[in-house]
């Protein structure tokens, strides 16, 4: 499971030599296999061969973590060569073991460059086996998701590592030059794409809608003797592609890759909490950057409510910290979306309460225009605008993914660290959007209060001339009428208006009471209660 997303990693972390030294110091002997590890591998191997998915899941989720905690807190697991003869030297099992080995390494220690390259090699072999052999295993969805997730995480980590050229030794640079195919962006994308295509998962999902296939109903597992590995890896690779494209800053393509999955419904992506959160986080972030604020708000609201209700069940899981971290980040993104597009009715009460608790003050400052305070009006407004700008910067930097520069560095030029470049660029793009929206805060404040106002008068209040005001109003209309994924124009404005020559008429929209939904909910609830009551009668009769 991906370890940490801190933006400012301590520079010592990526020092190759120090990492290798640490591993040696702690007395790590790759060939020593404790008895508990031996029985772990033997049992895991047997369960995989017998396709006991439940037992595999228990061992993978619980036993592996327990053993890691107890025996391998800061050393790697025994090397694959040492355990191979306990499992009949089975090639595929060894690939799976190595995958877990590397994941443990990334989580607890810091990998050397050679280890990163070896991990890439391992993934290549593993994916090639899945793509070109006909695999006979059934693995738990959690494991398959972790594979894809870790693959993308290691790619991201490698790009970050490679971009810190300043302290690289000659040896490291030579290795990088030699193994330029390792974690190459083409390779990563092509593997994910190949998994999607070979598994024909898009066609499967299409056919499922027409009732010709069973995939979601069985959670991706195959009950007719086949294997779920390729199909489910293909499915999760779509989410992997979304993630990679977000890291590259190409949000449109990312959302396109996710299109076959219908996120308004339950699906295989909700079967693993990690994948559910990753999907919605990246979908929401991409929507935010594409100015589709309503989509973002809706999805963030759903997932935050879900986490709020279910997080207590995941307290023991090794991913708990990750879940909490993503939860906080999504609240920050929701705060940004709501500031651009104040549609509070889309947000559930529980989520709203949490949001106000975490970011209530900051959100208030973002919408502040002309409160009473010291200084003259114009300088006050400027101060508020600058403050808001700073808050947007802070929220974005906290919540954004760790963007990467996909191209390899030129090894001949002087060595600099450029790992922050991609992030700075995305931040710049985001803040330019913020600047354009700044003008709207003032307009919104006044339009909420008036039902009709002449252009001249409003221009006076805002201390601008009429033509600037016209510009501002057109900007408001343009920004609030986004083009959604179907190409239609929809308005997400909370306050709407139209201009009649030189009078602005604000639209009076009363919130419509939704009776239909309310009745439906109550009908279903009553039915449930009646069923319960019926059952009681039957029991007491016996």
């Amino acid at each position: 499971m991906a370890a940490n997303y801190e933006y400012e990693e301590a520079s010592g972390h990526y020092d190759d030599q120090a990492a290798a030294l640490r591993q040696q110091e702690v007395g790590y002997d790759p060939n020593f296999v404790p008895d508990s590890v031996k029985s772990f591998v033997v049992h895991l191997y047997r369960h995989i061969r017998e396709k006991n998915v439940y037992e595999i899941h228990q061992m993978y989720e619980t036993s592996f973590q327990t053993l890691s905690e107890r025996l391998f807190k800061d050393t790697p697991w025994p090397s694959v060569d040492a355990v191979a003869h306990y499992v009949d030297n089975d090639h595929v099992f060894c690939l799976l073991y190595r995958e877990m080995w590397f994941r443990h390494l990334y989580a607890r220690l810091s990998p050397t460059l050679k280890q990163r390259i070896d991990s890439w090699d391992n993934y290549c072999s593993l994916f090639q086996v899945v793509l070109h052999g006909v695999v006979n295993m059934q693995l738990p969805n959690q494991w398959l998701w972790d594979m894809v997730d870790e693959f993308v995480y290691q790619f991201q980590s490698f790009c970050q590592y490679r971009a810190k050229m300043k302290n690289k030794t000659e040896q490291e640079i030579a290795l990088l030059r030699q193994f330029d195919q390792a974690w190459n962006v083409y390779g990563v994308l092509n593997f994910l794409q190949a998994l999607v295509e070979k598994s024909a998962i898009i066609q499967i999902l299409e056919q499922e809608k027409q009732g010709l296939e069973q995939f979601t109903a069985t959670d991706g597992y195959d009950y007719s003797g086949g294997s779920n590995v390729l199909k489910v890896l293909g499915y999760f690779s779509m989410i992997g592609l979304l993630r990679v494209h977000c890291l590259l800053g190409d949000y449109h393509t990312g959302l396109k890759c996710l299109q076959p999955i219908d996120i308004s419904q339950q699906g295989v992506y909700t079967s693993v909490i990690g994948s559910h959160i990753a999907t919605i986080y990246h979908y929401g972030f991409a929507s935010l950057m594409l100015r589709r604020y309503v989509d973002g708000i809706r999805e963030f609201n759903k997932i935050l409510l879900y986490i709020y209700k279910t997080k207590q069940y995941h307290q023991k899981s090794p991913q708990y910290e990750q879940i909490l971290k993503k939860n906080e980040q999504m609240y920050a993104l929701l705060a940004i979306c709501l500031s651009f597009c104040p549609q509070m009715k889309l947000v559930d009460e529980a989520v709203n309460a949490q949001l106000r608790e975490k970011y209530g003050e900051k959100m208030g400052k973002l919408q502040r225009y002309d409160d009473e305070g010291y200084g003259d009006k114009l300088s006050r407004r400027q101060r508020y605008a600058d403050e808001a700008f700073g808050i947007y910067d802070e929220l974005f930097s906290y919540a954004c993914p760790k963007f990467i520069t996909p191209s390899a560095p030129s090894f001949d030029e002087p060595l600099v660290n450029y790992n922050q470049d991609a992030y700075r660029l995305q931040l710049k793009l985001f803040l330019s959007e913020v600047r354009q929206q700044e003008l709207l805060v003032g307009a919104r404040t006044f339009l909420k209060v008036y039902s009709t106002i002449s252009l001249g008068k409003l221009a006076n209040y805002l201390d601008v001339d009429e033509s600037t005001l016209r510009m501002t109003l057109m900007t408001y209309k343009h920004k609030t009428h986004a083009v959604d994924s179907d190409g239609k124009i929809i308005s997400n404005a909370d306050v709407d208006f139209y201009i009649d020559d030189d009078m602005i008429r604000v639209v009076n929209s009363k919130p419509v009471k939704r009776y239909g939904d309310f009745f439906l909910r109550q009908i279903v609830k009553l039915e449930g209660v009646i069923n319960d009551v019926d059952r009681i009668k039957v029991e007491s009769a016996n």
Partner: protein
Amino acid sequence: MYSILTPLVDCYPKGLNPQHSGRCFFLSCSLQGSPRSVPPVRYIGKVLRRNRIRPKMGMEKEPQKPQQVSYTVEQLVAVNPYNPDILPDLENYVNEQVASQTYSLDANLCLLRLYQFEPERLSTQIVARILVKVWLACLNWPTLLFNVFQLCFEQMEQPFKTLIVLSHYLETGGFRQFWDEAAKSRHIVEAVPGFEQAIQAYAVHVLSLTYQKVPRSVLAEAINIEGLALDKFLEQQVVNYGWVLEMGQGGGQIIALPKTEFNHPELKKNSGDAVPLDHITRIFPILS
């Protein structure tokens, strides 16, 4: 003891895996023989191409059939987008789009992505053309702006700087500033035919969102047409799009724009109380 799966012997060619002896219970047929050391990119490219229609690479050889050529480029993008070899085809396609005043979002995005992966192959001229093209076609669509701007933001040279400034004006409704700036940089905008009409269409769109009735002067400024040419333009719009010309209070001409739900809120369909069908399906089991 374990008789559930019949073991498979020797599923790999000898060169694949020297460490492990090649026995494997989890595969039921052999691999197609892929040495592990081959870089995956080219390998997967081969696999994909083997199973797909082989794309025609010789665009220059068939100048008389432009339809067929652009079809195959689209196919390339759909089937094998992460492949550095298709870059020249995509570049040619951009030039073709400019000449024929068509536009393809996916192909252009793909090209920009390849430039991002290999910045040394970036052609400033091509990117400038894409930027103008894309921007014209997607004025309501900020998606592509990000991709293109990513490449351009870091380069502060012309023409990118001008294009970024122009785009900023359009995004904030500053049409007068836009036309002034565009006049200073004629060589950039004239590189792409159809530029003026596209911007004018965008201007009219934004005005229609905002105004029910717009003064003549505001319209003239937005679309950069004055005097007799403006009269002619207005006549056309009256005939084709239902615009109405009236006399305003100050004596100037007022143009009433066509009614849409955006500038006439009473036209907005009140969907507040409509219940979608899939919500009702929840109670079908109860009703039956």
